[in-house]
Amino acid sequence: MGPYTIVFLFFILLFFVPVLILVGIYNKFVKYKNKVAESLSLVDVYLKMRFDLVPNLVEVVKGYTKHEKEVLEKVVMLRNLSTKAENEKEKINLANQLVDSMKQIFVVVENYPDLKASNLYSNLFKELSEIEEKIAASRRFYNSNVNSYNTLTDTFPSNVVAGMFNFKREELFKIEVNEKILPQVKL
């Protein structure tokens, strides 16, 4: 192997290896970013399922109560606003306000034993409970993906690649869940 070949191989290594590393890190960023987007879309799916159940909940409660108009109207308003939200941040903010209002409905229901005992209400409650579980699980999945992605943007040497290609930290959304209607794990 002549000296020119050695020099040639040296320069190939000098440029080729960093390029390979760069491509590898860039692809990892793309993969993680896609995972974050995918998990956020799953959160959306379950939030939508919750929104879709709200009119049913309002109808069932309305049939039993005459004096809780304000609470029910607020829930309906929040639900309608959520469907018109323009970005994720707004959607989640409205969804969290909806959870607060729904908590008030569940407090109201406690004062109407007939309503609580009715089949319509218990089936609806079961459905809502399952959806809250899935929202909680999808929130955990989303946060886990965001943490992995953010760790990549913050640590060396991937933070250099993040700077080069404008990969920015993602926000961890605080997605509220109605803890009281989640099934409790008995131990």
């Binding site: 579980e133 899935k134 909680a136 699980a137 999808s138 955990r140 886990s144 099934p183 131990l187």
Partner: protein, 314 residues
């Protein structure tokens, strides 16, 4: 389930007049070591390390002393193992045999009285069910004992639990006639079958069981270190593995457990000690059957967890 005190009172009522057992209990020895000491791991490296040290400090001449040194080291190790493992095992064996032959079955029957179950000391999980789990690789020796089957009514999804102790080995003989045996699995193996079939596949500590299943990284670093979870559904696996359930599973970390949920079965394999195994009491010269109670309690807890998981999947 009966209380621990009721169980221990029942055990006492069975054994109080057993003079042979009392005689054997007088010679019981509490084993000082319950698992292989970690220092044994350096054994394969001992010869090269000593050879290097001999050459470094004494020159090649000192190498001649090496075989004698190794001989004394291995004699010492042999005596150590005899004192800490073999002697306690032999001394305790006869007392444990009395418990296993005479009292194991009535004790299990007492604990499982409120359930529909069957127990057979000499039988074990059949190979077909073991192979179906695909948890382990090739083996050519298969034996076990203490086959227990329990039927658990559960709303619309009745459960059928079957488990036993198993010892699964691979025995090889090379072309020089030298044979070796490698333990593929030793511990408790079983499955829970339910009437509904689910689209979810979830495996814990079974790397490579399912192709195409993704790793599920959960929030707890400790949990992820001890339990490698793979699944075809990231959301449902998180619905099942809630923070509280993860906390419950961490009680059993280090027990080398494998779990697979697929179709209408959950397979489980807990490596290590056998179920329903007598031991030497901590502060008394007598046989302890506490583990019998703990084993049944742990099975009951596991069944409750499975019922909750099935409720979620329904």
């Amino acid at each position: 389930m009966k209380s621990k005190q009721e169980f221990l009172d029942y055990y006492k009522s069975l054994t109080e007049h057993d003079t042979e057992l009392k005689e054997r209990e007088k010679t019981l020895v509490k084993p000082k070591l319950t698992e292989k000491p970690k220092f044994l791991i350096i054994l394969p490296f001992l010869v090269p390390i000593m050879a290097f040290a001999a050459i470094a400090f004494g020159g090649f001449e000192l190498l001649a002393v090496l075989p004698f040194l190794m001989f004394f080291i291995f004699i010492g190790l042999f005596v150590f193992l005899i004192i800490n493992f073999a002697i306690p095992y032999l001394k305790n064996y006869r007392a444990f045999k009395i418990i296993n032959d005479k009292y194991k079955e009535p004790l299990i029957k007492f604990l499982m009285e409120d359930k529909i179950y069957s127990y057979n000391k000499k039988e074990y999980i059949n190979k077909k069910d073991f192979n179906k789990s695909k948890m382990f690789g090739y083996y050519n020796r298969y034996k076990g004992e203490d086959l227990t089957t329990v039927y658990i009514p559960n709303k619309n999804n009745d459960l059928f639990l079957r488990f036993s102790d198993l010892t699964v080995e691979e025995h090889e003989t090379d072309k020089d006639g030298k044979s070796s045996t490698h333990t593929v699995f030793h511990g408790v193996f079983g499955f829970i079958e339910f009437s509904k079939t689910y689209d979810l596949s979830l495996s814990i500590n079974c790397n490579g069981w399912f192709s195409g299943n993704e790793r599920v990284e959960l929030e707890s670093i400790e949990f992820n270190k001890n339990y490698k979870v793979h699944s075809n559904d990231q959301i449902l696996s998180r619905v099942i593995l809630t923070p509280k359930r993860m906390e419950y599973m961490m009680k059993y970390k280090g027990k080398h457990s494998k779990i697979i949920l697929v179709g209408n079965r959950i397979y489980f394999a807990f490596a290590g000690s056998d179920m329903f195994a007598p031991s030497v009491a901590e502060h008394a010269q007598e046989v302890s059957v506490d583990d019998f109670y703990e084993d049944v309690k742990n099975m009951n807890d596991m069944i409750e967890q499975v019922k909750q998981v099935l409720e979620v999947l329904d």
